[in-house]
Amino acid sequence: MTTHEPIAYVREKMAEQKAPPPTSVGILGWIRANLFPDLVSGILTVVALFIVYSLVSGLLPWLLHGVWNASSLDECRKIIAERYGEGASGACWAVIHERFWQLMYGFYPSHLYWRPNLAFVLLLLGIAPVLFDNLPRKMLLITIAVPFVGPWLLWGGSVWVPIMVFLGFVIGIMVNRFVGRMSGALVGIIVGVLAAVVWWLFLSGPAADLVQSIIPLSIEPVASRNFGGFMLAITLGITGIAMSFPLGIFLALGRQSNLVILKTMSVGFIEFIRGVPLITLLFVASVLLNYFLPKGTEFDIILRVMIMITIFSAAYMAEAIRGGLAALPKGQYEAADALGLDYWQAQRLIIMPQALKIAIPSIVSIFIGLFKDTTLVSIIGLSDPIGWVKLIQANAEWNGIVWELYGFVAFVFFLFCFSMGRYSMYLERKLQTGH
C-alpha cells in the first residue's frame, strides 16, 4: 500500500522570476543547442569544421596571392614565385583583367559598347516595374519599348525595322478586336495572330526599306557573329525568359482546352520538345535549318538559337503552369463562371494569378535553368562566356589557365541565378494572403 498525498494543494509562496541557466542562452547556449546537442552531432560538427578549414586554408592563399597585372600565365607564375616564394599558389586574375571586355562583349566593336550598355540599363528599367508593383506604373512604357529598342541598339541598322515590327503587334491587336467583336474571342485571336505573322513575314521588311529610302535614319549595324561573352548570354537568357513565359501559358491553356485539335497540338508539342535534348535543338538551329530554308534566305543564327531556347523552356514552363492549374479547386472556375466572367477574363483575373503563384518556384527554376543552358551555345560555335574561355585558353599566353576563367564565369552566373532565386522567395512572401 502506498500512501497518497492529499490532492488539495495551495501555493503559499509565489516563485520569483529567475534568469535562465547560462547553458541555454547566449552564444554558449546556441553552440550547445545547434552544434553539440549530442555525441553524434558533436562528432559531425568537428568533421565538418575540419573540412571547411582545409578548403579555406587551401583556397585563401590562392585567392589572396592573386596577381592582377600580367600579360601571360608564365609572367603571372613568375610574379607569384617572386613575391611568395617558389611553389606558392596564387590566382592569375590578370587574365580576367586583360580579357575583361572580350568576356563581356565578345567581338562587339569597342566604340559601340555604349549601345549594349544602354540596352542593359533600359532592360533593368523595363523589368523593374514588372518585378516590383510599388514602382510608378508609367515605367511600364519602358517595358513595352525595350523589346523593340533593345534589339535595335544591339544589332543597329535602320530605326524603321523595330518600328515596323512594333506595328505588327498593333495590327494584330486591331484585327483581333475587330474580328473578335464580330465572330467570337477565339476566332479573333487566331485571325489576329495570323495577320501579325503575315505582316512580319512578308510586309514589314519591304515597308521598313521603303520608309528608310524616304527618311533614312539608322545607326551602324553590328553582325551577329560579333556578339559574344556575357552580352550574348544575357541577350539569349532574357529573350528566352521573356518569350517562353507567355508561350508556356498558352501551351498550358491549350493542354487544358476542350477543343480537341488545340489540345492535341499542345500535348504533342510539349511532349516532343521535352523528349529532345536542348543541344539537339541547337544543332538543328545551327545546321539543319539551313537545308530547309529556301536558298539565299538569311535567318540570323542568334535569332534561330533564341527560338530554340524559347520553345525548349516553354514546354517545361507549360508543365509547371499546368501543375499550378491542377492545384486550383474547381470552385474557382465555377465562381468565375457564375459571376458571368468570360473565359479570358476568368483566366486573366482569377485562374492565372493563382496558378502562377503556385507555380512560382518551378517557374523560377526553369528560368534559372534556361539562363545556365545558354552556355550550351558554345558547342555550336557561338562565343558566349564559355566559348570565350576556350578561345582564351587556346592562346599561347594563357595556355593552361583553368580555374580563374571558369571561376569568374561561374561567379557571374551565380550572381544572376542567386538573385532570381531570392526574388522568387520575395514574391512568394509578398503574394501570401491566407493565414
Binding site: G331, Q332, K357
Partner: protein, 263 residues
C-alpha cells in the same frame, strides 16, 4: 419539429409572388455519361418565390440548380431564365449568368483578392461599372451583410460564416434578379449558420427570387413558400412548407423527413 431559423418576427410585407415567370424548366433531362442524373424535370418559378429544395445525398439537387446557370449542361428539354432560353450560345449564357447569382457550399471566394476586390471584380469587368461606383455598391452590400470593416482583408483571414456572407454580397453586387444557393450553410459551424441564414432571410424579406438547396428545415418553414423534395433525379413532391412537413404524401418524403427531423 425543427427550430426556427431566427428568433425575430419575419417581415412578410415585401414577400409577394408575382405572375411573372422567372424560371421555366420543361421536360429537362440530364445525363453524366450513361448515368441519368436528372429525369423529366418540370418546374416553373415565379418572380418573388422562395423555394427550398431538399432530398437525400446524390439525388441531383446541386445538378438541378447548376443547370439553371449553365454550370452544367442539360441534354434534353428547355430551361428559360428571365425570358432567355439556355442554349449553347455563349452570349445567352453570359447574359443569364450575370442575372443569376450563386452561392456555393464552399464559398469559392477568390483568395488572392481582397474582400472589396472580390465584390467589385464582376461589376467592373462584366457590367463595365466604373471602379468608384462599383466600390460604393460593394460597400453597401458589405454593410448589409454586416462586415464592412473587413473590406480590405483577404478571404483567408475571415471566419467561415463571414466568408459565406461575403460570397452573398459578391453575388448581390451584380444586382441579380434570381439567387441560387447550394447548401450555403453545410460547411459551417452552428453559430455561423445563424448569421448566414439571417442574411438570407433579409434577402427574402426584400422580395428576392431564391432557389435554395438546404437541409435547414427551420429556414424552409420560416421563409420558403414552396418546398421541393427530390430523389433519384426526380421531383418527387412539392408543397407549401406547412403541408409538406405536416402532411407529406409520398413514402419517400416521409422516410426522408423522419430521418432528417429525427422522429
Amino acid at each position: 419539429m425543427a427550430e426556427p431559423a431566427t428568433a425575430r418576427e419575419i417581415d412578410r410585407s415585401q414577400m409577394t409572388i408575382s405572375d411573372e415567370v422567372a424560371i421555366e424548366i420543361t421536360g429537362m433531362n440530364k445525363w453524366y455519361g450513361a448515368f441519368h442524373v436528372l429525369r423529366d424535370i418540370n418546374l416553373t418559378v415565379y418572380r418573388g418565390e422562395r423555394i427550398v429544395i431538399c432530398g437525400p445525398s446524390g439525388s441531383g439537387k446541386s445538378t438541378l440548380i447548376r443547370c439553371i446557370n449553365r454550370l452544367e449542361e442539360h441534354q434534353e428539354g428547355k430551361i428559360i431564365v428571365d425570358g432567355t432560353e439556355l442554349s449553347s450560345d455563349l452570349k445567352n449564357i453570359d447574359k443569364i449568368r450575370s442575372e443569376v447569382g450563386m452561392c456555393f457550399q464552399h464559398f469559392n471566394l477568390f483568395p488572392h483578392l481582397t474582400i472589396m476586390e472580390n465584390c467589385t471584380l464582376a461589376p467592373i469587368w462584366v457590367r463595365k461599372t466604373p471602379r468608384k461606383e462599383a466600390e460604393e455598391v460593394a460597400m453597401h452590400y458589405l454593410e448589409k451583410v454586416k462586415i464592412p470593416d473587413q473590406a480590405n482583408k483577404y478571404p483567408g483571414q475571415l471566419s467561415g460564416g463571414q466568408q459565406q456572407r461575403v460570397a452573398i454580397a459578391r453575388s448581390l453586387c451584380m444586382k441579380p434578379r434570381i439567387m441560387l444557393f447550394d447548401e450555403p450553410t453545410s460547411a459551417l459551424d452552428p453559430e455561423m449558420i445563424k448569421e448566414v441564414l439571417d442574411t438570407m432571410i433579409e434577402l427574402a424579406e426584400e422580395g428576392m427570387t431564391m432557389l435554395c438547396v438546404t437541409h435547414e428545415m427551420g429556414f424552409a418553414q420560416a421563409v420558403a413558400n414552396r418546398v421541393i423534395f427530390m430523389d433519384q433525379g426526380q421531383i418527387v413532391e412539392q408543397n407549401e412548407p406547412k403541408e409538406f412537413f405536416n402532411n407529406p404524401q409520398s413514402d419517400r418524403t416521409k422516410l426522408f423527413l423522419s430521418q432528417i427531423l429525427g422522429h
